[in-house]
Amino acid sequence: MAAVSGAPGATPTTIDGWLGVSDHKPVGRLFIGGGVLFLVTSLVLALVASYESVDGLGFQIARDPDEFTQIWSLSRELMIFGGLVPILLGIGIYLVPLQIGASSLAFARGAAGAFWTWLLGAGLLIVDYLLNGGPGGGRGDFVVLWAASLAMMVGAIIWGLVILASTVLGARTIGMTTERVPFTSWSYFVFSLVGLFSLPITLAELLLAALNIRYQHLPIEQSEVLVGVLDGVTRAPAIYWLTIPVLGMAVDMIGVHTGVPVRLHRTVMALLTVFGLLTFGPHLVGMASIRTIDYNNAVLVLGLLAVVLPVLGTLALAGDSLRSGSISVNPALAGALLSGLLLLAATLVQLLGLVEPIMGFFDSLFPDSVDMTNSLVLNGTTFHEAVTALVVGAVVVGVIAALQHWSSKLFGRSSAASPALFAIALAAAGSVIWAVGELAAGIADQPQYPELVDTSEGSLQVFGVVATIGVALLLGAVAVIALGLVGSVVSRKPAGSSGDTWSGTTLEWAAPSPPPLGNFPAPPVVVSATPLAHGELAYDGLRSESGGSGSGDAESEDAESAPAEPGDNTRDEEG
């Protein structure tokens, strides 16, 4: 097809331009860049916290247990709400409008507002900890400010999720019915819905925490208990919420890199939806307190058991493409596969936590036959951190793969494969080693919360060293991403100046690289879930020389209108 033309990319050049930027692409890049920055910060803090928990003879960096709690808590908050969620949100804000053929994001200026609000909240959060606030803090006003700044970040993320969900619901291009939405965009839709239904509960808990500290119903000396406020987000199955878009992106990437789009489109969409549903709701119950199954927590236990199935099903369907397609080792494919496997590992490791409640249940039925003294007691221990480590690894690996896969769209250049492969290997190894250390410490009864940590036992120190090595490797992987991003941004090319490395079948590959303002020369018209696979793409109101056939009323079009040859901006024809 003829190269599609469009207006040049509109990267703002002034402060007010950046504040009210109306194109989704700069906003997406801002979220990704800011998220990576805070993810590096959070992993440095996690490294410090992990190192401190190794030491059984006293603190080396933190001055007292409260400061240790503050470091641990800030690392966790920055990792989730400062790093992983904003990076995923940024990729979604950049990619989803392209995938669904929209010229822009719904409420693009609102998305810019969400970014600046989130950034302000993140800055306030760090300042607040520096002023002795947050869980473990000694100054009531700054503990209240901690709740406010975290609420600001969470509120901004909720608004970003509302915008993403509205875009998928209301801004799809002509012919893109719900069942034709690409996997990545669909997974972002599920991610947005689950997030905007579950994160407000965290806001409610933060409000109550702030009021209880403000009116001294929770003495400031006990502020360390506030680390539990985020349990509704950081414990399984809620923590799997972070991996919903990672799973969707992995399926899309596997389809592109094997040359065989994943079959049974609606089945995969259903599996992603079921996975999303299972990451919501049961977390309200709380896992740490479960000692035996009863009617109060049966839903949670069933949810934790069931969540393995959609992950397994999605990976199995993606595996079919691997089996029947051509495979060449590249970072995007390797990352997509590894992120899926890490997620599967996380869901399987979490099942270990069910041993105690299931044995407790049978003990209540057959008290003489079951010996609870041999039960594996993991709930409330660092076992939860092991699951978190695997989930964080899955997200980091998935993000590296996605940045590699869509690098021509994001930055107008193909990222180097070797550093990306190195980062993926480092991140996967790091998260597994981190998880092994935490799981072993959990089996040895080390409690999850820092104020309860006692590492005087020699064996626990060994496990702590293992976990610390894992965190360090993960930090190294994220540092490689950060350096690669800086290089990509510095050498970023103007809109439409680059070719694509892969032959994708979804709409983003029909747009120039990087896409201009407006993304497409005219609204694309699609008739299938993979509009570029069989030359089915057309543009509404465009003559053939501009890139596609008129299509809104194709029968009445000029006879000269040629069928679309989508995605020919340097792509080869194999897709």
Binding site: A7, L211, N212, L542
Partner: protein, 204 residues
Amino acid sequence: MAVVTHSHDLIPSEITPPEVARPRLLVLAVSLVSAAMAMGFVGLLSVYIAQRADVISTGERWLPDGVDIPLTQPNFMGVTLAFSVITIWWALYAVRKNDNGNAYLAFALSLLFGFAFIAQTAYLFTIMEIEIAADPRGVLFYAIIGTHIVMMIAAMMYAAMTALRTLGGDYNSRQFEGVLSMAIFWTVTVALYGVMWYVIYIMK
């Protein structure tokens, strides 16, 4: 936007391609925001119910000593809000009929009912005599009731802005998405009062 060349003589040679119609994006977004808001509020009520159950299971009385929650004011507040739902949808109906006179009257009545609701809540605070600093239960009462008042104020500001835009001619029988989304937000806020009325004022 890309420049597209058309061959038809009567159409200018260069026009920008049309945007895809995006119906009801605002309605979708406001509905999602309302749902998120409802979840946060339900989360607060869940904490209230759980703590109340814990206290009652020990054989103690849930309400602090000396505190009494009368039912007259909450009932009238509910009736006031029920009327406001009727008037807010009346505003939408009037806008869709291009009946601006009735639309302004409906907006004004809705805002009046909103102010009346807040005034009644303030009065209820004075007779409930719950001290927020004296008892942790006070935190729960004021967090829940206060959150709902903030929602109500947001709904009133949204309604006032919508009324002004209607006055300015932005909304009419063909373009009423803003009024519809405002009506949805208002209705959800009122529905949440219904839940709160049962949990706080009836169950006590």
